[in-house]
Symmetry: C2
Subunit: 430 residues, 2 copies
């Protein structure tokens, strides 16, 4: 059988990983793919780096790849949005299948892309776009496709998870942990995308579109990052039986589909609370298979290259049926204010008799019941040299808008001397 | 597009699950598959049970399904070996793709089956044969196929894991836990297949064939069950920082491929030690993707049906390229006696001065070094009313044949008053 000829756009970390994997594992890849997979052309806007490109021709015109006569399948690895979109669209025009590891372009232009792909009967491989080598895309589209999905929850940003793990296991502050993440290459110079949850929201947009047929609605995701999490919160959470993780959650409820990215308290008994460092993990709850958990490295040169080459192997084998995503269903996405969660609250307050009772009374006025509470004995000197103490409360389930109103009332109490911290509690059951 | 017409052989638990999943999730399955999946015929050697078969025709001749004109794809769910083999072979003769959840028939007849499938260009779906709905087959053959695999390790028998978990978490004895497993339907009336590791060895045979291209060599697996594990072992293991799990392990070493099923001490920090109850889990270590862990229900009506219908969806989508397994490679399987492991030893001995030293000296004579040891203070009345105490030792890595020789020597010490327990210790790293 003829070799599959691959044209790669981009020559950054992941693209170099693809070269390395295809070189190092050439024999087994040919056997599993049923034919050879060869990189015929590679293009990068920056000059050719000092990398062994094997027999591949180098070009600086990334837009020339889709129409190149020696290219059967296009691999888009330049990242970003506009140029990547242009490359993918031009590949579709050329009736060529595409592989990408670009979450942003799919999350933000998924509807348009899947419409053109489907009209041409082409496929796009994007296993590498979500959680690196963890096979979540293939699982949702094929292995678990017999199921109605109820819940997808995941740790889908390695940088945030690395930072939270370093805080929890090594007692580092957020800033120290972030510095360590940068030093190790887990965080970019500007880490906003990762620590504010934007990257995770891109990935969750894709997963929710696949699982719940609501289309691609990045703009509808309620996204919160981890920069406000303190060591104190991690310590109190642990005392209450939880670990704090940054999660993406999409869930089918009687009100519609929830889709949100935020820190959450996860029970210590749940495997998800044990996913540490830069690892990613995804939990899928579905009506026949029950709970499926998949964990692995969520990013990095070789894990992402593994996913990209996995997609190429599928294409080489002829397993190229498009993923069928219903783009037409009206997005029954639940408004954030209507989402129901349990909450962890940390309320810095003066150490006076009756404060806890006043807080509890306000919560009770909003029908919010308390599941557990910690009142610290340790008293810290507060502003104006008054003694203060954090009141820590776990609530039962409550609608977000009620929680926000109640917090506003509690915040107004004269004894509350600093901003209240509010973190959702997720049991991750359905 | 025309519906995919399915003929099912067997109408037991899993087959009924397939009916239920295809009925309950008909709409989403059609959408994801790109066409309808219909059960046209179902055959069972026992009379038709009181089950809603939808529009399917019922027959008592299971062997009539492959040649049936209304059947595009054959689903073999009768279990066992001979009749199942005949059905699969006859489907191949009819040039029909096959789906099965039968691990025994693939493990024991894999070579022959894959040769005929490959000569006809047909595919066999067997995701349901290994670890229920956990997508390990698809991961090894496609999602992770860009990798050279180094290690596959898994908890792949739900019955054994249920029993060990009940012992560890509820303090039940092996016999009590086995009774509970039978009561809950997790164990058969004759549980030999599960608790002696035969079922796990069938599954591992398949995984090792896929991962290491050594062919199907069930007969070469060193298989040990869990019936000798005691509560005391679980307690000592915990003290040493381990949980006892029943695992299947296949590993690439410089000596060749190891393939074995046995109880093992797994470090408490490893996620695999937290896989509880009837859950299954698989860890794959590979050269690009690093560690991938997948966990889920390993058996049961609906999870297995989920995997079977997942295979049907692939076939309906036209993703029918055969899985390429190299059957010709000489099996470089490491002989059991040459396998290197660390060991947990429990040595029941008289509570006399110098016994530990004598044991340590023997081990040292065999170049076996001790990593940790527990000498219990608690003294139990032994036979002849002598006081005795278990000596518990964790060794460093040692070749199995040396360990066996050393144990024989220790066993011969006059102070050793009962059979020595020996369990492997697995760090599950590569």
């Amino acid at each position: 059988m003829k070799a599959l000829r691959v044209g790669i756009c981009g020559l950054g970390t992941v693209a170099q990983g693809v070269f390395r994997v295809l070189q190092d594992n050439a024999d087994i890849i040919s056997r599993r793919a049923g034919r050879e997979i060869l990189i015929s052309v590679v293009a990068s806007r920056t000059p050719k780096p000092d990398v062994d490109l094997g027999g591949a021709v180098f070009s600086t015109d990334v837009f020339s790849i889709p129409a190149h006569p020696d290219v059967d399948v296009v691999v888009e690895l330049i990242g970003g949005e506009d140029a990547a979109l242009r490359i993918i669209e031009s590949s579709i025009e050329q009736s060529k299948n595409v592989v990408t590891a670009n979450k942003a372009v799919i999350a933000l232009h998924g509807k348009k892309l899947f419409q053109s792909l489907s009209s041409k009967g082409l496929c796009i491989g994007f296993e590498g776009a979500v959680a690196g080598s963890v096979p979540i895309v293939m699982s949702l589209s094929e292995a678990l496709a017999a199921n109605e999905y109820d819940l997808i929850a995941g740790i889908i940003n390695g940088t945030s998870n690395y930072i939270l793990t370093a805080m929890a296991k090594e007692g580092r502050s957020f800033d120290e942990a972030l510095r360590a993440a940068k030093k190790l290459g887990y965080a970019e110079a500007d880490p906003t995308f990762d620590i504010e949850g934007i990257d995770a929201a891109h990935k969750l947009t894709i997963l929710a579109a696949m699982a719940f047929d609501i289309g691609f609605h990045y703009e509808a995701i309620n996204t919160e990052g981890i920069s406000d999490i303190t060591l104190a919160d991690i310590k109190y959470a642990r005392q209450l039986g939880y670990e704090i993780k940054h999660v993406g959650i999409s869930r089918r409820t009687s009100d519609g589909i929830e889709i949100r990215v935020h820190p959450a308290l996860i029970p210590l008994e749940h495997l998800m609370s044990r996913i540490d460092g830069s690892m990613n993990a995804l939990l899928v709850h579905s009506n026949a298979a029950g709970d499926t958990l998949m964990a692995g490295p969520g990013a990095g040169e070789l894990p992402t290259a593994s996913a990209v080459v996995g997609d190429l192997i599928r294409i080489a084998r002829g397993n190229i049926s498009p993923i069928n995503i219903d783009l037409g269903s009206p997005g029954r996405i639940v408004a954030t204010e209507n989402i129901t969660s349990a909450y962890y609250l940390r309320i810095p307050s003066l150490d006076k008799a009756g404060v806890f009772a006043r807080v509890a009374t306000i919560l009770s006025d909003y029908d919010i019941s308390i599941e557990a509470a910690i009142q610290q004995e340790q008293i810290k000197p507060g502003k104006d040299d008054q003694d203060w103490v954090p009141i820590v409360i776990l609530t039962h389930l409550v609608q977000e808008k009620l929680m926000i109103d109640a917090i506003r009332k509690v915040q107004d109490l004269p004894e509350v001397i600093g901003p209240i911290t509010r973190i959702r509690v997720e049991q991750l059951d359905q």
